[in-house]
């Protein structure tokens, strides 16, 4: 499934659709934790973008989402938007979504056909490890707290994000059975 990096109109359209799906995942709302970074469904969309579109296209979809939010569409957590979030505590998570989708897709698409194991590992590494690895230090920086404190602020996300990994695997497995064409680029 090693796809080329040449973007066709069909790719572009799918990239846009996934950017929109991630945006739509913020509409049901978020669970605020009082740290300025709520529990949201965004990472589900980030992982699905990588798993369905592959690393390169998945990352482009997420980048498109982030840019649209930055320039003013109210599609970030709790209907927020604008460049202000870059100075806030969630900035690193948002930026981390991009490499997060990339790594998810890279791992999930590394074989020649759909694999539950690769989807699982991809989502864990890309959707959680990579996103946290960027999200937590930036949070520490923007809130001017140390890394341990920021990590403490972020541990409540883990159960939810693990559930989202499980959802990604179940959804991808079902999608592959119901509509295998979805994974063909």
């Amino acid at each position: 499934m090693a796809a080329s990096n040449k973007i066709t109109l069909r790719d572009l359209s799918r990239i846009a659709i996934f950017a929109a799906i991630i945006a739509a995942l913020t509409f049901p709302g978020a669970i605020p934790l009082g740290t300025g970074v709520p529990i949201t469904l965004q990472t589900l969309g980030v992982m699905l973008a990588g798993v369905v579109l592959g690393g390169f296209r998945g990352a482009l979809a997420v980048a498109l989402y982030v840019v649209l939010g930055l320039i003013g569409l109210p599609i970030f957590a709790e209907h927020s938007s604008g460049f202000g979030v870059l100075a806030g505590p969630s900035a690193g998570f948002l930026l981390g979504f991009i490499p997060g989708a990339f790594v998810t897709g890279l791992i999930a698409h590394s074989g020649s056909k759909f694999s539950v194991v690769r989807t699982l590992i991809g989502s864990l590494v890309g959707g959680i490890a990579v996103v946290y690895a960027i999200g937590i230090p930036v949070m520490a920086g923007n809130l001017q707290v140390d890394l341990a404190t920021a990590t403490g602020y972020s541990t409540p996300f883990l159960p939810g994000d693990l559930i989202k990994v499980a959802l990604t695997v179940v959804i991808a497995f079902g999608l592959n059975r119901a509509y295998p064409k979805a994974f063909k680029n």
């Binding site: 799918r14 846009a16 929109a20 945006a23 003013g72 569409l73 001017q144 959804i171 979805a182």
Partner: protein
């Protein structure tokens, strides 16, 4: 409400963004410590300047305090732990004011810039000389603005699919849950997206 737009509203988004970045950079430098003594009035001056800019944009400082109030939780979150750990008060004040100021400036940019104007200036920037290498790498300005337009179109379509799926599932006596909804949503969205790409191709669009 005054309908006349302020100079900040009319300033080109590119210039405004540049000014914003330099201002945030300026207040982020640890000026208070340059000569070894604390000067917390420097970030305080930054905050006053920001209030002035809000006044310039909205012809009153009301909006400034409204946005400041929105940041109350963040401000508490930044100050309280530091105070608990015994950081000296002027340092805490300095850093809190700096973060608050950065957020307020970035928000001011968003408040005074129309999304469409920003889209146009992104496309314009990509056409400009300094960014030409990006274009050569394949990031065509038309493609970027097309991607923006496509995404904005896709959001209502997705919500329409969500509505249809919810309805179809409740009609089958089913409580729509995220997993159950996501598979048909992905199928419907991907089909829509592929048809959309074909229609664009027929209209002579190329990437």
């Amino acid at each position: 409400m005054r309908s006349k737009e302020s100079i900040l509203h009319r300033l080109s988004p590119g210039l405004k963004l540049l000014a914003l970045i330099s201002l945030i950079a300026a207040i982020s430098i640890d000026v208070p410590f340059i000569d070894g003594t604390l000067k917390p009035w420097i970030p305080a001056f930054g905050l006053a300047l920001t209030a002035g800019l809000y006044a310039l944009a909205f012809s009153s400082v009301g909006k400034f305090f409204e946005q400041l109030w929105n940041l109350k939780l963040l401000i508490l979150l930044v100050t309280i732990p530091q105070l608990l750990f015994g950081t000296p008060l002027p340092t805490v004040l300095g850093s809190t004011v700096r973060l608050t100021d950065a957020m307020l400036l970035a928000t001011l940019f968003s408040l005074t810039t129309k999304t469409q104007a920003l889209l146009d200036s992104i496309e314009g920037a990509l056409r400009s000389k300094p960014l030409r290498p990006l274009v050569r790498l394949g990031l065509k300005p038309e493609t970027v603005s097309l991607a923006f337009a496509m995404t904005m179109n896709a959001i209502p379509m997705i919500m329409k699919f969500v509505g249809q799926i919810k309805e179809a599932q409740s009609a089958r006596g089913l409580k729509p849950t995220p997993v159950r909804m996501t598979i048909p949503l992905l199928v419907a969205s991907l089909k829509y997206s592929d048809e959309f790409a074909e229609a664009l191709t027929a209209r002579g669009v190329e990437v």
